[in-house]
C-alpha cells in the first residue's frame, strides 16, 4: 500500500463525489418533505375529479349481491 499514489485530484474527486451524492439525496429529502404541501396547493387550484375506480362496476355489484345472498342464507340456516 502506497499512499503517495493518491494524488490531489483523486482526493478532490472523492470529496466532490460524496458531496454530490449528499446534495442529490438531500434535495430529494427536501422535495419529499414539501411534496404533500405542494400537492395540497395544487389540489386546491385544480380539484381532482371523483375517482372512477372507487365506484363499483357491474361485476363488483353482482359479486356483492352474491356475497350478501350467501351470507343471508348461511345465517338463516344456522338459526
Amino acid at each position: 500500500m502506497n499512499l503517495d499514489r493518491i494524488e490531489p485530484e483523486h482526493l478532490q474527486l472523492a470529496v466532490t463525489g460524496m458531496t454530490v451524492v449528499f446534495a442529490a439525496l438531500t434535495l430529494i429529502a427536501v422535495f419529499i418533505y414539501s411534496l404533500p404541501r405542494v400537492l395540497a396547493v395544487v389540489d386546491g387550484i385544480f380539484p381532482s375529479a371523483p375517482d372512477q375506480l372507487s365506484s363499483p362496476n357491474e361485476e363488483q355489484e353482482r359479486a356483492a349481491a352474491v356475497g350478501f345472498a350467501l351470507h343471508h342464507h348461511r345465517t338463516q340456516s344456522t338459526r
Binding site: 500500500m1 502506497n2 499512499l3 499514489r5 493518491i6 483523486h10 482526493l11 474527486l13 472523492a14 470529496v15 466532490t16 463525489g17 460524496m18 454530490v20 451524492v21 449528499f22 446534495a23 442529490a24 439525496l25 438531500t26 434535495l27 430529494i28 429529502a29 427536501v30 422535495f31 419529499i32 418533505y33 411534496l35 404533500p36 400537492l39 389540489d43
Partner: protein, 434 residues
C-alpha cells in the same frame, strides 16, 4: 491407438489446469451456498453454473468463450474494428465497421486519405462469435444492468422513504464506502479508472458495479461482478458484527414511529421529480436512474399494470439469468486467478464494511440533533443490497427487542442506497472517462 491418444489430447481432461479445477470448485461452492444456505439463490445459481461452464478448457480454434464476440475482418485477416477505432475515434466495436464502410464509399473520406477510406465493402468478411460471446455482449456493453434496474423500479415501493424523508440521508452516508475504497484501490496500484470500478463494490449493488466496470475497467469486470454479488450474498454474515460493534444495546432497542400513509399522487410525482434531481446533478447516472424510475412510474401510475408486471417478473428474470450466467462464464481461470482479483476481493470486503459503518455512524450523528431518535441499526441498510440489508436490520433489531420491527424503516435507507450508489457510479463514470 494413436488416434485415440490424439483425441485425448483435445479433451478437457488433458488440458484442464489447476486454476480451472479451483474455479469449478468455486462455482460448485456458489451453487451449494445458494441451495443449502439460501444466499441469493437467484444470482448465485446462474453465476455458479456460469463459472463451471467458463472453466471447461477447449481448443482456441473452437471459439467458444465469452471473449469470442465476433469480428469484422478485411481480406488480409486484419481485424477491422481495431483499424477503425484509431481512425474513427470511437470505442463502439459494432459501429466501427459501419463507419468504415460508409467512409470507404464517401468521397470526402477518400480525399482525407485516412486509413478507413482504404477499406472496400467487398474486402470485408465477418467472423461469427460464440454463443457465450453474444450473451456476454449485454454485459460488456452495459445493456443488462439498466434492464435489471427497470425491473427493480417496477417492484420497489418508495412509500417508506416518502413517509420518512430524513432516512434518505443514510443512503448517502453509506456511499462513503465507495469513495474510500476508490482511494484504497489507488494506493494499491490500480489505475484511476480501475479504482473507480473497484470502489463501486461498496455501493453493494451488483448491476451498478457491472455497469461501471464495463465502462471503466472491462478487464476487471469478472472479478468485480463476482466480488459484488458474493458480498451481497454474504450481507447476513458481514453486517451484524459491525452493526453490534458500533451501537449500544439501548440504541438497538430504540423504537421508531410507524410510517405514515403515502398518497397515490405522491407516489406518482416522486419518480419523475427524483429522476430530474438526480440526473441534473449527476448526468452520468442517467441510464441507471432513468430505468429505475421509469420502472417505478409503470408500477405507480396505475394504467400500465401489464408493463409493470412484465418488467418485475418475466423480464428481470430473463435478464438475471443471462447476466448471471455470462458473468460467471467470463471467469476463466487464466483471466480470473490473478493477484488483482484477490486485491479486488479484499477491497470489496473493506468497501462493504466501511459502507455499513458509514450508515450506522451517520444515524448516530443524526440522533445528536433529532428529537425523535432513529434506531442507528437502520443506517446499515443504506448500503443498497435490497432487500437483504433491510432484513439484516430487522433480524439484529429483533435479537434485542422481539417486538421492535425495523424492516419498514430500514427499507427507506435501503432504496435511498440504490439511488446513492447509482449517483456515485454516474459521478465516477463522468469523472474518470475524461
Amino acid at each position: 491407438m494413436g488416434n485415440l491418444l490424439e483425441f485425448f489430447q483435445t479433451t478437457g481432461f488433458a488440458t484442464l489446469s489447476f486454476g480451472n479445477v479451483a474455479m469449478i470448485v468455486i462455482g460448485i461452492t456458489f451453487i451449494t451456498l445458494a441451495i443449502r444456505k439460501h444466499y441469493e439463490p437467484l444470482l448465485l445459481v446462474p453465476i455458479g453454473m456460469g463459472i463451471i461452464v467458463g472453466n471447461i478448457p477447449f481448443s482456441e480454434d473452437m471459439q467458444l468463450g465469452v471473449e469470442n464476440q465476433g469480428a469484422i475482418l478485411v481480406e488480409d485477416g486484419k481485424v477491422l474494428t481495431e483499424t477503425i477505432e484509431d481512425s474513427a475515434g470511437t470505442d463502439s466495436w459494432m459501429l466501427n465497421p459501419l463507419v468504415s464502410l460508409f467512409a470507404g464509399t464517401d468521397d470526402e473520406s477518400e480525399e482525407s486519405g485516412d486509413g478507413a477510406s482504404a477499406v472496400k465493402p467487398e474486402q470485408v468478411r465477418s467472423r461469427s462469435g460464440s454463443v457465450l460471446g453474444y450473451l456476454y455482449f449485454g454485459v460488456s456493453q452495459g445493456i443488462f444492468p439498466p434492464l435489471i434496474f427497470l425491473g427493480i423500479g417496477a417492484m420497489t415501493d418508495f412509500s417508506t422513504m416518502l413517509s420518512n424523508p430524513r432516512l434518505v440521508l443514510l443512503g448517502a452516508a453509506a456511499q462513503i464506502g465507495v469513495f474510500l475504497t476508490f482511494l484504497g484501490a489507488l494506493s494499491l496500484g490500480f489505475t484511476s479508472a480501475e479504482a473507480g470500478a473497484v470502489g463501486i463494490i461498496g455501493g453493494a449493488d451488483g448491476p451498478t458495479a457491472i455497469f461501471l466496470s464495463a465502462k471503466l475497467a472491462p478487464g476487471l469486470l469478472g472479478a468485480i461482478a463476482i466480488a459484488a454479488y458474493s458480498y451481497m450474498a454474504l450481507v447476513p454474515v458481514i453486517q451484524p458484527p459491525i452493526m453490534k460493534l458500533l451501537t449500544t444495546q439501548s440504541e438497538r432497542k430504540i423504537r421508531m414511529k410507524p410510517p405514515r400513509e403515502v398518497s397515490k399522487a405522491e407516489r406518482i410525482v416522486f419518480p419523475i421529480a427524483a429522476f430530474l434531481i438526480c440526473t441534473l446533478l449527476a448526468p452520468g447516472a442517467l441510464v441507471l436512474i432513468g430505468m429505475l424510475f421509469f420502472g417505478n412510474l409503470l408500477k405507480e401510475c396505475g394504467v400500465t399494470d401489464r408493463l409493470a408486471q412484465s418488467a418485475r417478473t418475466s423480464m428481470i428474470d430473463i435478464v438475471t439469468i443471462l447476466l448471471g450466467f455470462s458473468v460467471g462464464a467470463s471467469t476463466a481461470a487464466r483471466n480470473f486467478l490473478q493477484p488483482e482479483s484477490l486485491l479486488i476481493f479484499g477491497l470489496g470486503a473493506t468497501a462493504f464494511a466501511v459502507a455499513t459503518a458509514g450508515g450506522v455512524l451517520f444515524a448516530k450523528l443524526m440522533n445528536v440533533f433529532l428529537k425523535e431518535k432513529i434506531n442507528p441499526l437502520v443506517g446499515a441498510a443504506g448500503v443498497s443490497a435490497v432487500p437483504d440489508s433491510a432484513r439484516v436490520v430487522e433480524m439484529v433489531g429483533l435479537e434485542e427487542d422481539p417486538e421492535n420491527h425495523l424492516l419498514m424503516h430500514a427499507m427507506a435507507p435501503n432504496v435511498a442506497g440504490v439511488l446513492g450508489s447509482a449517483v456515485a457510479a454516474g459521478i465516477l463514470w463522468s469523472a474518470l472517462t475524461n
